[in-house]
């Protein structure tokens, strides 16, 4: 999440104090990404270092805090942010996909229960989001857009989990079929050589 660009966007119209930026950021995103005031000032310091904002001169409010305003370089940066699509690669790696892949690769993990636990958790998040949506005002469009984005993401994750589960059970069915036919084939060829080898084989598989 780009706090940096969020703050630049809020400064586009006029100069603001850090605490104002924090309040407006949370109002626009529906407090979905709560910012602490420390994050705001750290980000402002970096933006100032990079020449994207500057402290408005002589506008201190007594407690040493100053107002910040956007520079021309900041405006250019902001415009380019809005004009550039967010790429899939710029997002963090999907921990859940990696977790499931490893659960399958490592023996002794019950993948089905990993999937089910995740489903319960994601559904609970989706229920929370739906409640927020239900309780929000109709006119609150930017907040609703943010909630919907999270609803779509949670919904997609649950659908993907359903899909994983279906794939896994098909895969297991196919494997056990293959396994059965191998065993049967083995029995036929072993028919003349007594039962002993089959028994050891079955014992080893348990």
């Amino acid at each position: 999440m780009s706090i940096k660009h969020g703050l630049l966007a809020l400064l586009r119209v006029d100069a603001k104090y850090g605490y104002q930026l924090r309040g407006e950021f949370e109002a626009a995103t529906g407090a979905t990404w709560p910012l602490n005031i420390g994050q705001v000032y750290t980000t402002l310091t970096r933006l100032e270092r990079d020449g994207l904002v500057r402290s408005a001169s002589g506008e201190g409010n007594g407690d040493g805090r100053s107002m910040y305003e956007i520079t021309d370089a900041g405006r250019t940066e902001l415009t380019s942010w809005f004009e550039t699509p967010v790429t899939r690669e710029s997002r963090p790696r999907d921990e859940l996909a990696i977790k499931l892949a490893l659960a399958l690769a490592v023996p002794g993990v019950n993948v089905t229960s990993v999937v089910q636990r995740q489903r319960v958790s994601t559904m609970q998040a989706l229920q929370e989001l739906t409640r927020l949506k239900r309780n929000s005002r109709d006119g609150d469009i930017s907040w609703l857009l943010v909630i919907e984005s999270m609803i779509f993401a949670a919904e997609a994750e649950i659908r993907w989990l359903d899909h994983c589960e279906a794939m896994l059970s098909r895969h297991r069915a196919a494997q056990s079929k293959q396994h059965d036919s191998l065993q049967q084939g083995g029995k036929q060829s072993d028919a003349g050589q007594g039962q002993a080898p089959n028994q050891t084989e079955a014992g080893a598989q348990r």
Partner: protein
């Protein structure tokens, strides 16, 4: 409890061919609560709903609706309970094409022996509840899918229903219309103390429920919710 299902088992067929649709399911739904049931096809969702609504008889177990055990009542008594206390909403609406919206809604009451004029009054009130009083005189094929589903919901809530059972009620609707239907079901539970059970494969719609339970091969395997109380601080800042 509006609905209290205990150790519900339903076996179709017998011997080698026996299919265990449900195996010892427990599910309780309180007044004002909406519970969603999710699961892959064949997991027993619809069987659970038809048993809860008295449309199917369990092999064993109890189904208590408002304290009455459907499994011990006579066929007629179950039918009467179904007409008075239980409302059903289906994916394909199941409206009678030759009847107007108001007639479709008042039909169960008239079947129950209520005089046409009072049944009509209840029907009109139910159509107000679902926000389509102006469509009372329309026939189903003169309405959109969303409007038809509203009529079906009006029919399911008309009179003094206590239990609302919905089987994929949004399956035939576009997503906005589907959300409006969920809002309506939710409001019925919140404001009228009805208990609701919603079968759906759609996570977005299940998320409107207080609890979501998961069926696999006739067994409940998990539950999401109920949610903790809403975050008061967050609400106040909005």
């Amino acid at each position: 409890m509006i609905l209290d299902i205990r150790k519900l088992t339903r076996v179709h067929g017998s011997g080698e061919q026996a299919v265990h649709a449900l195996r010892g399911v427990d599910l309780a739904v309180a007044a004002g609560e909406l519970v969603a049931v999710m699961g892959p096809s064949g997991s027993g969702k619809s069987t659970l709903l038809t048993c809860a609504g008295g449309l199917d008889r369990p092999t064993s177990g109890e189904v208590l609706v408002d304290g009455n055990d459907l499994t011990t009542l006579s066929r007629n008594a179950v039918a009467a309970l179904r007409r008075r206390r239980i409302g059903y909403v289906f994916q394909d609406f199941n409206l009678i094409p030759a009847l107007t919206a108001a007639e479709n809604v008042s039909l169960p009451l008239e079947l129950d022996g209520l005089r046409a004029r009072s049944a009509r009054k209840y029907a009109e009130a139910a159509l107000v509840e679902v926000a389509i009083p102006e469509l009372a005189g329309r026939f189903p094929d003169e309405m959109s899918g969303g409007q038809r589903q509203r009529v079906a919901i009006a029919r399911a809530i008309v009179g003094e229903r206590r239990l609302l059972l919905a089987d994929e009620p949004t399956g035939a609707l576009d997503s906005d219309t589907g959300e409006a239907v969920l809002q309506l079901l939710r409001d019925r539970c919140d404001q009228h103390g009805i208990g609701g059970v919603l079968v759906t494969h759609d996570a977005r719609h299940a998320a409107w429920a207080d609890r979501v339970v998961y069926l696999r091969d006739g067994v409940l395997v998990g539950q999401s919710g109920p949610l903790p109380e809403a975050d008061v601080l967050l609400q106040e800042t909005r």
